[in-house]
């Protein structure tokens, strides 16, 4: 078996911005003194004339992005998820979301897998915050292939987009010919007893969980849900009908993220058990990323356990 390629989604973000710049796309990339970490630094190097660093000022970052968008530019604005969605929430809400401006927020270092920096930088609330903004599209890619596809789709989309990327290098899930469409989930593994709906780095864990469960005689469907908003209602309802139980898996708080979005659809359409794997309403802590993922139950083993719980609730 070929060695699994590992790449952080933030790297794919930086590379795809360069690709867009190389193609002559009319984009402007902004950062707030984190260009090396968010990987917009790649774009800065390749297309310095289209790059602006606003300094350590995330509120102004979003406002300047809004102003640039109001004068007809497609803007990518980057910081860590904590400071983009967190600190600048109200700027995103009022200056970008409300006027529906063409700003693409590239938020990196999302979730527990930030690792050693600890809780102050581990943003597990960003999807919850962004979901409440009308018209906001939220994308949380699983690997570098999907991250590239998300950036290209965001550039084409008319309106605000929040893209969530990770710091940690994660295994590649998709083939090079993978096609992505905003608002569409996709079935990675077919199954009949339960559906695991996952996003971000939890997609690979969901695949591993399904393989483990198969050996125990449990058939799990795995759905990749890279678009958290607008959520793909059809694939959720179809999964509920065909498998009768759902487990969601995300590197985010169990409050307000993918698990909540799926639950909202299920409650109103075809009530079946939904069990959530995510960060259980606690702050993170410092430590190596992979170790932390296990500590917080963001792994295949916990997904497999929750699958059994969901099936027992049927």
């Amino acid at each position: 078996m070929a060695e699994v390629i590992k790449c952080a989604t933030r790297d794919a973000y930086g590379k795809t911005l360069v690709e867009l710049g190389d193609k002559g796309a009319n984009i402007i990339v902004l950062d707030a003194d984190l260009a090396a970490a968010t990987k917009t630094g790649m774009f800065k190097k390749a297309h310095p004339e289209r790059f602006v660093d606003v300094g350590i000022a995330e509120s102004n970052l979003m406002g300047v992005a809004a102003g640039l968008a109001a004068t007809g530019h497609t803007v990518f604005a980057s910081s860590f998820a904590m400071f983009a969605a967190g600190r600048a929430f109200e700027q995103i809400r009022n200056s970008i979301g409300y006027p529906h401006l063409n700003v693409k927020i590239g938020a990196t270092h999302a979730g527990i897998s930030v690792g050693e920096d600890g809780a102050s930088h581990q943003c597990c609330e960003d999807i919850a915050l962004m979901r409440t903004i009308p018209g906001m599209v939220i994308l949380n890619p699983a690997d570098d292939i999907e991250a590239r596809a998300c950036v290209l789709a965001a550039a084409e989309h008319d309106g605000p987009v929040y893209m969530r990327f990770g710091r940690l290098a994660v295994p590649r899930v998709f083939d090079e010919d993978y096609t992505f469409e905003i608002g569409k989930g996709n079935i990675l593994i077919e199954g009949s007893d339960v559906t695991i709906i996952a996003s971000g780095l939890m997609v690979n864990e969901a695949i591993m969980a399904a393989e483990k469960l198969k050996s125990e005689g449990i058939s799990a469907r795995v759905v990749n849900m890279a678009t958290i908003k607008p959520i793909d209602r059809d694939i959720i309802i179809d999964s509920a009908k065909k498998t009768g139980a759902i487990v969601t898996a995300e590197e985010h708080s169990v409050i307000g993220g993918l698990g909540s979005a799926v639950s909202e659809v299920i409650c109103e359409t075809i009530p079946v058990p939904v069990v959530k794997v995510g960060v259980n309403d606690v702050f993170g802590k410092s430590g190596p990323a992979v170790e932390l993922l296990h500590i917080y139950g963001l792994d295949a083993d916990n997904i497999a356990d929750k699958v059994k719980q969901a099936i027992s609730l049927k």
Partner: protein, 280 residues
């Protein structure tokens, strides 16, 4: 400025004040004080300074205006209506549920509004982004914004000011409506932002201090702004909150309150008298 032109602008500003009172009275809500204080500068901007076309509000080459102190929307709406962006009669629909005149400016609903504002401190960032956008496109349009003096207590204002100064955005002019009143009291009582001019100077802005009701001073400050290269300009304009309506002048109480019928009648009588005097 010759006297005829001055009189025309004064007439325009007085009509705008009437529009403010009509709107706020009919809405039974709104912000008359800080709207009345900026009618003169808006009259100059929209009649003399800015390149705009009411028949083509989206004209790419137009100058942009961002009302960072978005609660003064009634003054902006009155100005836009008098310029022909939409009917003056519609000012009475301010804040109604079926109106395109929202409590705070909405760029997607109201012709002539270049940016949605209302949350203090955010408009100046957007104005800075627009000025940067012009630089990116090598376009020669200019960007104007008005901040409240209470508004500059917001930290984002200084993030934006630092960035604009550093980027040498000489196509940007920010007015500070210096009327010394905010909701909870006078500026120096609540959280002194003084000295305003020195702060902007320290952020590498060209700063001019004027009387915000003196059209000659507004004109010369804006001409000065155009002549200064490599620096944004801040025009700190001393104003009277509630200007033009005697009982509203210099009163915190009229920041965000609508006049009752009696007060409305008095305000209209005073403003119509000013109009008559100017027309004489």
């Amino acid at each position: 400025m010759d006297n005829n032109k001055k009189k025309e602008l004064q007439l325009f500003a007085t009509k705008a004040r009437i529009g403010v009172i009509e709107g706020v009275f009919n809405a039974k809500a709104g912000h008359p004080g800080g709207s009345l204080s900026i009618c003169d500068v808006l009259a100059y901007l929209y009649n003399e300074e800015m390149n705009i076309d009411p028949k083509n509000p989206g004209l790419e080459s137009r100058d942009r205006f961002v009302l960072s102190k978005g609660h003064a929307a009634p003054a902006l709406y009155a100005t836009l209506a008098l310029k022909g962006f939409f009917p003056v009669e519609d000012l009475k629909t301010l804040r109604k549920s079926d109106s395109y005149l929202q409590g705070h400016p909405n760029m997607n609903k109201t012709p002539g509004v270049d940016m949605s504002t209302g949350s203090l401190g955010q408009g100046i960032s957007a104005a800075v982004g627009m000025a940067l956008g012009a630089k990116f496109d090598n376009a020669d349009y200019r960007v104007y914004t008005i901040l409240g003096d209470g508004e500059i207590e917001e930290g984002e204002v200084w993030e934006a000011a630092m960035f604009a100064g550093n980027r040498k955005l000489d196509n940007l002019v920010a007015f500070v409506d210096y009327n010394n009143l905010q909701i909870d009291g006078t500026i120096d009582e609540v959280n002194s932002a003084y000295p305003i001019a020195d702060k902007f100077k320290a952020f590498n802005w060209n700063v001019v201090e004027i009387d915000g009701h003196n059209l000659d001073e507004i004109e010369s400050a804006l001409n000065n702004a155009k002549s200064v290269k490599d620096m944004p300009t801040c025009i700190v304009m001393k104003t009277v909150k509630g200007k033009g309506v005697s009982y509203m002048e210099n009163s915190c109480g009229w920041h965000g309150k609508a006049p009752n019928e009696e007060e409305y009648n008095q305000a209209m009588a005073e403003l119509n008298a000013q109009l008559k005097e100017l027309e004489a």
